[in-house]
């Protein structure tokens, strides 16, 4: 555990890719129409706070993963129960991302290919990546994640032909309520999901710069979300935004004379892949620490298999997918993303952790 390390830049890119994840398909804050930028800013501010909270927990409990912290702080029995629910949460998260990914590809590119097959083939790659270890995951993100913003920027810059820069007006047309709702959703998906990284933070080689890294990657994600939002609203206009199933995809097919759709698929596979890898890694790592297995790889295959099955099981149709992402997920996530980490932070502040015996 103490041997594998990832560098700051790798963690930065890993978090960035994770946060972009499937939010790239389900466009950020399209519920609040023209006020989406406001939602993104509010959610972003909250997101920075949340991610900083997770980072502080990791700093106050050096070299410990979430499962270990939970057992330290809550005692063995409660700690184990909470840890199991977290493992479930991570697996569920991976399954949901698998599903988003599958729905997207089936709707846009492969209408006749069964979704199970797409997800399963993708899952085989995920197993390989997770089994290769955290260092390889770090390097994957180092190579692939920079492609995402670059491609997004290229796609955006090449499609914006009309320059209606007042498209985001009027401000607060329907009052503040839908804005708050959209920003809470955006806070829970993706920012709060970064709780997954409590399993990965201990791998960072220079813990001192942790908060700097997390803040910086959250900021860059907010920036990219804002960019995507303005791109979409300028190209598609607000009336049209909530009509499309996959907004960013729709913008990508508008480029005249060239089919940018595959590029968008690439973005999707990278960001979604990074997200699933991180979630699966967290679940697998947590489970093996809980059980006391020698190697975290023990459970990779069966957890991935389970989350693939889960991804097909969770929702019957695309409306459920969106309803879940738009309504239920936030409430379901409150204990995992907010309450338990807050208690952990509180307990950790009261009593600083003793150095871990085996690290001495």
């Amino acid at each position: 555990m103490g041997k594998t390390r990832i560098s700051g830049i790798q963690l930065f890119l890993l978090i960035t890719g994770f946060l972009l994840g499937s939010r790239l398909i389900i466009s950020p804050a399209s519920e609040s129409k023209t006020d989406g930028w406001l939602s993104i800013l509010i959610a972003g501010a909250g997101g920075i706070l949340l991610v900083t909270m997770y980072a502080s927990i990791a700093l106050l409990n050096p070299s410990r993963t979430l499962v270990e912290i939970l057992r330290d702080r809550f005692g063995k029995i409660i700690g184990t129960i909470v840890a199991i629910s977290y493992i479930w949460y991570f697996t569920h998260l991976a399954g949901l991302v698998f599903r988003d990914f599958g729905s997207f590809l089936v709707t846009t590119t492969y209408p006749r290919t069964p979704m199970e097959v797409i997800i399963a083939i993708f899952a085989l790659t995920i197993i390989y990546a997770v089994n290769s270890g955290i260092e390889v995951m770090g390097r994957i993100s180092e190579i692939l994640v920079p492609i995402v913003p670059v491609l997004s920027l290229i796609i955006g810059a090449s499609i914006v032909t009309t320059h209606d820069f007042t498209a985001f007006l009027p401000v607060l047309e329907n009052g503040i309520k839908p804005v708050i709702k959209a920003s809470l959703n955006l806070l829970a998906f993706p920012f709060g999901e970064a709780v997954v990284f409590l399993m990965i933070f201990p791998h960072l080689n220079k813990m001192k710069s942790l908060i700097k890294i997390t803040t910086f990657s959250t900021l860059s994600v907010i920036g990219l979300f804002l960019y995507i939002f303005f791109r979409n609203i300028i190209i598609l206009e607000s009336h049209f935004l909530d009509q499309a199933t996959f907004v960013p995809h729709l913008t990508s097919v508008l480029f005249p004379g060239l089919n940018l759709e595959p590029l968008f698929g690439v973005i999707m596979i990278i960001a979604g892949g990074i997200k699933i890898i991180s979630a699966i890694y967290a679940a697998v790592m947590g489970l093996s620490q809980l059980i006391g297995a020698k190697d975290y790889r023990t459970f990779t295959t069966c957890i991935v298999a389970f989350s693939v099955i889960l991804s097909i099981w969770v929702h019957e149709n695309i409306f459920e997918v969106f309803n879940w992402a738009g309504n239920t997920w936030f409430y379901y996530s409150i204990p995992f993303q907010f309450i338990i980490p807050l208690i952990l932070l509180f307990l950790s502040l009261i009593k600083k952790a003793d150095p871990k015996p085996q690290d001495l």
């Binding site: 069964p114 399963a120 059980i291 006391g292 459970f299 991935v304 298999a305 929702h315 879940w324 409430y331």
Partner: protein, 77 residues
């Protein structure tokens, strides 16, 4: 009449083979009993759910249960 989903079957089969291969390795490497038990539980549950899904008898999913629970608590409408 049961609606069979053959591609789902293939997927379930694929992952069953992969996990069984893992299991066989663990038995040979003499992993602890605890590990084996948890592994088998997860494997069997995903196998059961997978087969149920493939044969069209879909049990209520955890997401739906959570949805219902939250609705009962009155958090969402």
């Amino acid at each position: 009449m049961i609606a069979m989903n053959y591609s789902m079957f293939i997927v379930v089969l694929l992952f069953t083979i992969l996990t069984l291969y893992d299991l066989w390795r663990f038995v040979r490497k003499k992993e602890s009993v605890k590990v084996l038990i948890v592994f088998i539980i997860i494997m069997v549950s995903s196998l059961i759910i997978g087969v149920l899904l493939a044969t069209g008898r879909r049990p209520a999913s955890p997401s739906e249960l959570i949805d219902r629970l939250l609705k009962m608590m009155g958090v969402i409408k």
